[in-house]
């Protein structure tokens, strides 16, 4: 007996986030911050999650890693990391399991390192006491590996820097140390929460290159949160655009510039200087992101949408597939409107 049809075996997904909802508990109320986030990631894949501040990007990632304090947040849905739903684990199990499969790089490297501990020790700690531990590990071995990692993430004068405290390093250096710590834990997926927003532009590119190299060399998957659509499109394979706690568009990165159809995504493109290459000046998006405690009726984006029509105020759009690997939450995608206008 054999299976008649065995299609090309796709590698098992490393991340499967399914209908993830996050509510903030506040004075007896529950405010929805993330509303039904889903995505799947396979080894060596790169996903970018894009959106303005408050779109639920960071909270969504922290929820997926089981990092949110249950006293402050209620989380539903599932988040399978390498096959295990971390939301179904107890706090104790989660504290052992999540670090063994996932790592996190933070937005502000100035706050993500322990100020009272030498950076070399902070990396070595992952080998000695953390998920980078292997039987037979000694302090000397851990330190040697930590030093090698510092060289791998291209920290110059690593031997000297090994003994430095975080306050003696630049922002870019600190972020490299954080990445070294992440790598030391041998994760299968690396979550990066705006890893370059607090760094200058040249350092940004270097850090993104470093993360890309790690992916190519080790085959880990990466999820990068950013508010920079150009960065997202150039560094990832798949892009998810979030607005008001929801995915409003998901599409392959190479199609972002040409195929984006949700008015919010196109507005983001226009807000980025010159991503479409035609030299038009950037156009800011009018208005403010929605208040999660007081969401607009219908489509959350309608108050700021140039193409909003009556049905956008009353009916709530669902995420629908419009092309292979391209999903959209909009009644009046931009392309349709342009076609309509052209046909008139």
């Amino acid at each position: 007996m054999s299976d008649q049809s065995q299609p090309i075996v796709k590698p098992q997904p490393i991340v499967e986030v399914e209908d993830l909802w996050v509510w903030l508990r506040k004075r007896g109320r529950e405010i929805p911050l993330v509303r039904g986030l889903s995505y799947t990631l396979r080894p060596a894949e790169a996903l970018s999650i894009v959106g303005e501040s408050g779109a639920g990007k960071s909270i969504g990632v922290r929820a997926a890693l089981g990092l949110l304090d249950p006293r402050l947040f209620r989380v539903t849905g599932s988040s399978k990391l390498v096959g295990t739903d971390v939301l179904a684990l107890t706090a104790k199990e989660r504290a052992r399991y999540v670090p063994s499969v996932a790592a996190l790089v933070f937005q502000d490297p100035g706050r993500s390192l322990n100020p009272t501990m030498r950076v070399g020790d902070q990396i070595a700690e992952a080998f000695l006491k953390g998920s980078g531990y292997e039987p037979g590990m000694t302090r000397a071995k851990a330190e040697a590996r930590a030093l090698q990692l510092m060289k791998d993430v291209r920290i110059a004068a690593a031997e000297e820097r090994f003994k430095a405290y975080p306050n003696q390093l630049s922002g870019g250096m600190k972020q490299r140390v954080v990445i070294a710590i992440a790598v030391a834990c041998k994760p299968q997926v690396l979550f990066c929460d705006e890893p370059t927003s607090s760094l200058d532009v040249t350092t940004q590119a270097a850090i993104m290159d470093l993360i890309g190299e790690l992916r190519d060399q080790t085959g880990i998957a990466t999820v990068t949160i950013t508010h920079d659509l150009a960065l997202a499109a150039s560094r990832a394979r798949k892009v998810i655009v979030m607005y008001g706690g929801q995915v409003v568009e998901a599409l392959p990165a190479r199609l972002v510039a040409t195929e984006s159809a949700m008015p919010y995504t196109t507005a983001l493109i226009e807000a980025v200087p010159d991503i479409d290459g035609n030299g038009t000046p950037p156009t800011p998006i009018e208005g403010m992101p929605p208040d999660p405690a007081n969401l607009p009726s219908g489509c959350s984006f309608h108050p700021r949408c140039r193409f909003a029509q009556d049905d956008c105020l009353t009916n709530t759009p669902e995420l629908r597939v419009v092309a292979p690997a391209h999903e959209l939450r909009c009644f009046h995608p931009v392309k349709d409107l342009e076609l309509q206008e052209a046909s008139r």
Binding site: R96, N114, P115
Partner: protein
């Protein structure tokens, strides 16, 4: 590091100078005449005048201050004008009880603060409970706390002695000495623990809630005890250590009260008696001891803080 110590020593000299000058002036501005106090109400004006001359009481305050300072610089703190007993000897008798009382109070205060902070961080209902209790305790004056303790543990339960200081060299030894010190230490320690808890709790909370390195430590897969001991605690105790140092200075006023209530022959009681009898040398000797002690404690606190936190080290050493 050495520069900092030297800097602080210079500061200490200035502080000691200013404080003793101020105290000297204030004591001499107090109403009442030491000569009348010493000779009694029926002293003849001639006798009073003679004593004034003998004690140089008619010299300007500033001259008398520098006379005293000159003696102090030669290591002579003078003798009590009341008992003619050398001030240095009174001090060597008064320092051990006060020192022990302050250590005891700090042990009680720190222990209570650590335990209640642990409870405050663990669960929400224990947080409410201990912050409520701390507020309540904080609003009761030290002497009332001392009296309540005496009523409960001495006069009602007969568990602890209400009075006195037992020298560890006496028959009872250290056992009796420590038993006698329990209630005074608790009375004083209860007064300082709420502030300790407040700062420790908010500093730890801040690390836990706001600092990403705690999350990074968790993401490294470290055990909770290691996360707390190696990452949260060293970054939370700075304010606490500074506060222990500064509280030592504030504790002095509590010491005066507690020594009075429990009849402990310490510096507080000695100085209070000296104020009563206008005994300037004794008062200033006690003050000199306390000021020196406070400055040294603050320096030690600062050095410990620097040892723990490299950021502080960077700013203070270059400054």
């Amino acid at each position: 590091m050495l520069r900092l110590i030297l800097e602080r020593l210079v500061q200490m000299v200035i502080v000691v100078f200013v404080v003793t000058l101020a105290a000297f002036t204030l004591v001499n501005l107090l109403s009442g005449d030491i000569a009348v106090y010493l000779l009694g109400d029926h002293a003849t004006p001639e006798a009073v005048a003679a004593l004034h001359a003998q004690l140089h009481l008619d010299d300007p305050i500033i001259i008398r201050y520098f006379d005293w300072l000159g003696d102090v610089l030669q290591g002579n703190l003078g003798t009590s004008v009341v008992s003619h007993y050398p001030v240095v000897k009174s001090l060597t008798n008064a320092i051990p009880p006060t020192f022990e009382l302050m250590i005891g109070a700090q042990i009680v205060g720190i222990t209570l603060a650590v335990v209640t902070t642990a409870a405050a961080i663990k669960w929400r209902w224990t947080d409410r409970l201990v912050t409520g209790v701390a507020l309540l305790v904080n609003s009761i004056p030290t002497f009332v706390v001392a009296l309540i303790l005496i009523i409960i543990f001495s006069t009602t339960l007969h568990l602890l002695p209400s009075i006195g200081w037992v020298a560890p060299t006496s028959a009872g030894g250290w056992g009796k000495n420590i038993v006698a010190m329990i209630m005074p230490s608790v009375a004083l320690g209860l007064g300082i623990f709420p502030e300790y808890m407040r700062i420790l709790r908010s500093d730890i909370r801040e690390q836990l809630d706001r600092e990403e390195y705690v999350t990074l430590a968790w993401m490294k897969g470290l055990r909770p005890t290691r996360i707390f001991g190696k990452h949260v605690a060293p970054n939370s105790v700075g304010g606490f250590i500074s506060m222990i140092a500064t509280t030592t200075a504030l504790l002095i006023s509590g010491v005066v009260i507690v020594e009075q209530v429990f009849a402990i022959p310490g510096i507080g009681k000695m100085m209070l008696a000296a104020i009563d009898s206008h005994d300037t040398p004794v008062l200033l000797g006690g003050l000199l001891t306390i000021v020196t002690f406070v400055v040294i404690i603050n320096l030690v606190g600062e050095l410990i803080y620097m040892r723990i936190d490299p950021r502080v080290r960077a700013t203070r050493v270059t400054a």
